[in-house]
């Protein structure tokens, strides 16, 4: 018999930050909105010199942060609760609850740090692993302490720009310097979109395919190995390493109640520095982030939260704080922290069609409705973008979306439907213009968002290896 994680939590697990009386840390005031880049003063995760200037080494790390304070398992769990640290891989699930569920479940837990970052345009996990590997490893070691395990798996994708070399070098350096660490196991999986999903990661780490599983219970209760499995994002554990140093309250003060702590975002598309990672605090707006990268005025639209995110009208996005509550008001979620900027003059329908075609080709090929439905949705989006669809075709596309929604073992098909729905509602005028057969104002605009395999007309029907 299994109890849901909500029920199995002991009293006081979800206490509000600041409720712990015996904190050895000073209680700071809230941090105002600010956006910082790598090495900028005031930043937390990105503090210190760049990796090239020695910031990635253990000495640079210790200069910036000092040694990791000795905490026991209960201490780490208290830090997790007090900080309300939420997962930064896209789900936003509180790490305290994952850890607590795994601790109370039957069996010795498996801990996996997910640094695969399969979102093609996202760079935050790669950046934090390459520039601040010791922060990630410190945090991973703390999760191991919280669960009393002696091995941690670091999972990455086999991509050309993988942060595996930086992490392996950091592990070797720590070994030589005698840092008290768990055993590290670096795992390199296939570079596919759905392979970064937590159950796919858990499956791969257990020796199976890097494809999502149909789960009826949380992985933290029982993973594919039969043991409770905690899969958590690399940025998330890096935050934990900071929390252990500055205290949960000081960390929490960098955020707002719906989005505690500072967060990393990646800007991409029509921005001065595509692929740049920024750290933001407080109720910084999307406009603040884009301005920090050098964009002077609101763009046409912003794709918020990754390819599996939603479109937000540019003027609206500019004013919207990048926090869970504020984004919900514009039907968006922080997701993996990606902000894809669509310039004026580009066609949003073309951009969406390219993304949907890519995502359709990235289906794991497991669930029937996803396999059959996503290519059709992609075709409909392409027809709409090229002016070959009438009002009835749009209605049919929406109906197909309703069918596809909730049909898969993972959230992949749902994400595609949400993206299409947001396109249809945010770009209503563009849709109408395309239906009327008026010339598209973005017909000659070069592609904006870097979509992998965009040269392929059809999705990848080759089911490349998943191992």
């Amino acid at each position: 018999m299994t109890v849901s994680p909500d029920v199995s939590l002991p009293e006081g697990l979800l206490t509000t930050p600041g409720a712990h009386a015996s904190a050895p840390f000073a209680t700071p005031g809230p941090v105002g909105p600010c956006v910082r880049g790598l090495g900028d003063p005031g930043s937390l995760l990105l503090a210190g010199a760049p990796a090239g200037a020695g910031g990635g080494g253990l000495d640079g790390h210790l200069d910036t942060w000092g040694a990791l304070p000795g905490v026991d398992g209960a201490g780490v769990r208290a830090l997790l609760r007090a900080s309300a640290l939420d997962g930064r891989g896209g789900g936003g699930f509180p790490l305290a609850r994952k850890v607590e569920t795994a601790r109370l479940a039957v069996g010795h837990p498996v801990v996996v740090i997910n640094a695969s970052e399969s979102e093609p345009a996202s760079r935050k996990d790669r950046t934090i692993c390459a520039e601040r590997p010791h922060l990630v490893l410190d945090g991973a070691a703390l999760v191991a302490v919280a669960l009393g395990v002696d091995e941690v798996v670091l999972h990455l994708h086999r991509s050309p720009d993988s942060a595996a070399p930086a992490l392996t070098a950091a592990i070797a350096e720590r070994g030589l310097r005698g840092v008290a660490d768990p055993r590290w196991r670096v795992s390199a999986g296939p570079d596919r979109y759905v392979s970064g999903e937590s159950s796919a990661v858990a499956s791969f780490v257990d020796g199976g395919d890097a494809r999502p599983l149909f789960t009826t219970q949380p992985l933290a209760t029982i993973g594919p190995s039969g043991r409770p499995t905690v899969v958590t994002n690399a940025e998330t554990v890096a935050h934990l390493a900071v929390i252990a140093r500055i205290g949960p309250d000081a960390w929490y003060a960098h955020g707002v109640p719906s989005s505690p702590g500072p967060r990393l975002v990646t800007v991409t598309g029509a921005v001065p520095h595509p692929g740049r990672v920024l750290e933001l605090s407080g109720s910084s707006t999307i406009g603040d982030v884009l301005e920090a990268d050098g964009l002077p005025a609101p763009p046409a639209a912003v794709l918020v939260g990754g390819f599996a995110g939603t479109w937000v009208f540019g003027d609206e996005a500019w004013q919207t704080p990048f926090t869970r509550d504020a984004l919900r008001c514009v039907d968006a979620e922080p997701g993996c922290g990606l902000l894809g900027v669509l310039p004026h003059g580009a066609c949003p329908l073309v951009e969406t069609a390219r993304i949907v075609r890519y995502l359709a080709g990235e289906s794991a090929g497991q669930c029937g409705t996803c396999v059959a439905g996503l290519p059709r949705l992609a075709g409909a989006c392409e027809d709409l973008a090229s002016g070959g669809l009438r009002r009835r075709g749009v209605r049919r596309m929406s109906a197909l979306g309703d069918t596809v929604l909730g049909s898969g073992a993972c959230g992949h098909p749902d994400a595609v439907v949400r993206l299409i729905r947001s396109m249809l509602s945010v770009f209503e005028d563009d849709v109408t213009r395309h239906l009327a057969g008026s010339p598209c104002r973005g017909a000659d605009h070069p592609p904006v968002l870097a979509v992998p395999h965009a040269d392929l007309v059809v999705g990848r029907d080759d089911q490349r290896e998943w191992t």
């Binding site: 149909f214 029937g368 409705t369 049909s407 073992a409």
Partner: protein
């Protein structure tokens, strides 16, 4: 006595046999892949149908997880 019914979308191959046995419990899409319409079955007639649907599925995708009634704490 109640049971939770689930269709494993990875195992489902769209034979749609479950819908023959338990038509109100399953929504089929245009390809024959099923989604459960009612997640919890608590009357004996539907439970019987759900069990038949589970037994008939050639892929074992239709799962009936029966819950044994626990004695109520309140008298």
């Amino acid at each position: 006595m109640s049971a939770t019914i689930r269709i494993d979308p990875i195992l489902c191959r769209g034979h749609a046999i479950c819908a023959l046995f338990f038509s109100d419990g399953v929504d089929l899409d245009q390809w024959g892949f099923g989604k459960v319409a009612v997640a919890v079955v608590d009357n004996p007639r539907d439970l019987r149908r759900a069990r038949r649907a589970a037994a008939a599925c050639p892929n074992g995708a239709f799962v009936v997880a029966e819950r044994v009634a626990t004695p109520s704490v309140r008298a």
